[in-house]
Amino acid sequence: MGTLLLVSTRKGAFFFHGDRERRRWRADGPHFFGQIVNHVVLDPRDGRTLLAAVRPGHLGPSIYRSHDLGATWHEAERPPAFRKATAGELPLAVSHTFHLTPGHSSEPGAWYAGVSPPALFRSEDGGVTWSGVDGWNDHPMRFKWCPPEDQTPDGSILHSILVDPRDPAHLYVNASGGGSFESTDRGATWAPLNEAVEANFNPDPYPEYGQDPHCMALHPARPDRLYQQNHCGIYRLDRPASHWERIGKNMPPEIGDIGFGIVLHPRDPDTAWVFPMDGTTVWPRTSIDGKPALYRTRDGGASWQRQDRGLPREQAWYTVKRQAFAADDGDPVGLYFGTTGGELWMSANEGRSFRQIASHLPHVYAVVAARV
């Protein structure tokens, strides 16, 4: 048993195979050299199938699958694509797939893909063919929830697709510039889930929808517990309630609660980590004061502790994107993050200390940690 890190970058995917102790790492790659890879995900249902969301900068986007951990890749026969627009309809084209999520454990072969512009696709055959989830893509409120003129950097996206481990019909999705949404009927119908989440870029700072969730996570051991790192703070929600609590208010005020990713302890629903970014003035989105640090809560967000041992002490202006921050399920938990400057870091002891695995990689878009 070892740890496999799936690192997606602007110029290809790089895999790092760790030994049992997570001390030594063997680099493998690049895969899809020169192409933009947004997400590579291992199927936990078989432990060997990878799906990769890939786009060259100048060709159309596609999805590839591998059944041998990346030794060979096969392109989807029908990648995510909108249907041809009829008269009066907005002619949409998939710019790229941003996020991939395996379906429920009871549905082998099922996958979800979140694309830009924000739309949801599903595959029933392990990623060979993809079809739109009409309940989202054709929802009468869709362009009110996610205005087509949204100019999120790199394009507005659908991300953080979460499947309730107790119920394959219970889904959450998140749209940048749209908010968080829930379905209890496998995507046929959707409702906003944004109560008390701030949108300080909106005339009404607490609208029904229009928020900007950056990353949402559902705790596998307590699926009613949700966390999100939003454009406007860190939040927690315990269903069936629908009123989010801004637990980021408990962060040190000089740090604030702006960031992209949020990572959960795989066994303790009260423990989570964030990687704060500078959200002041013009939103630099770099580690605050050039001093990178994680912040950990062990009480559901009531208090936070700084963790930075081993990280650079100064002049390190890291940006860690929403899918570039991950945890494994080891004991102790391993934490991993990749930067837009191409560094890959880890902690093998739940954040007590950090060390660098790799440097000089391309701009990192995503890091996924898997046990193989």
């Binding site: 900068g57 159309g60 392109e75 026969e77 694509a81 909108f82 084209a93 998939v94």
Partner: protein, 86 residues
């Protein structure tokens, strides 16, 4: 007719720089290429039948602006990638 394939698309053509295709329009030609090299069309044209932003298709060295451009049997077609960024 002969069709020149740019390097980013040669993974579909077995590394061939030149292939043959048929069709009375650029759209029909791309459909013929897709039958020979499955998947290549979606890399060139989006789902709304628009030539992708960074792709250029030239017919006898003249830019074809859409899939309706008519073709003759002896035409030479070049598919090029208009790379950008720095």
């Amino acid at each position: 007719m002969r069709v020149a394939i740019p390097s980013p698309l040669r993974s579909y053509t077995g590394s061939r720089e030149q292939v043959s295709g048929a069709g009375a329009t650029v759209g029909e030609l791309l459909a013929s290429l897709d039958r020979q090299f499955p998947g290549i069309r979606f890399r060139i044209v989006d789902e709304q039948d628009r030539i992708r932003v960074h792709i250029r298709i030239f017919v006898n060295r003249e830019l074809a602006r859409d899939l309706g451009r008519t073709l003759g049997a002896g035409d030479e077609v070049q598919i090029l990638c208009a790379l950008s960024g720095g």
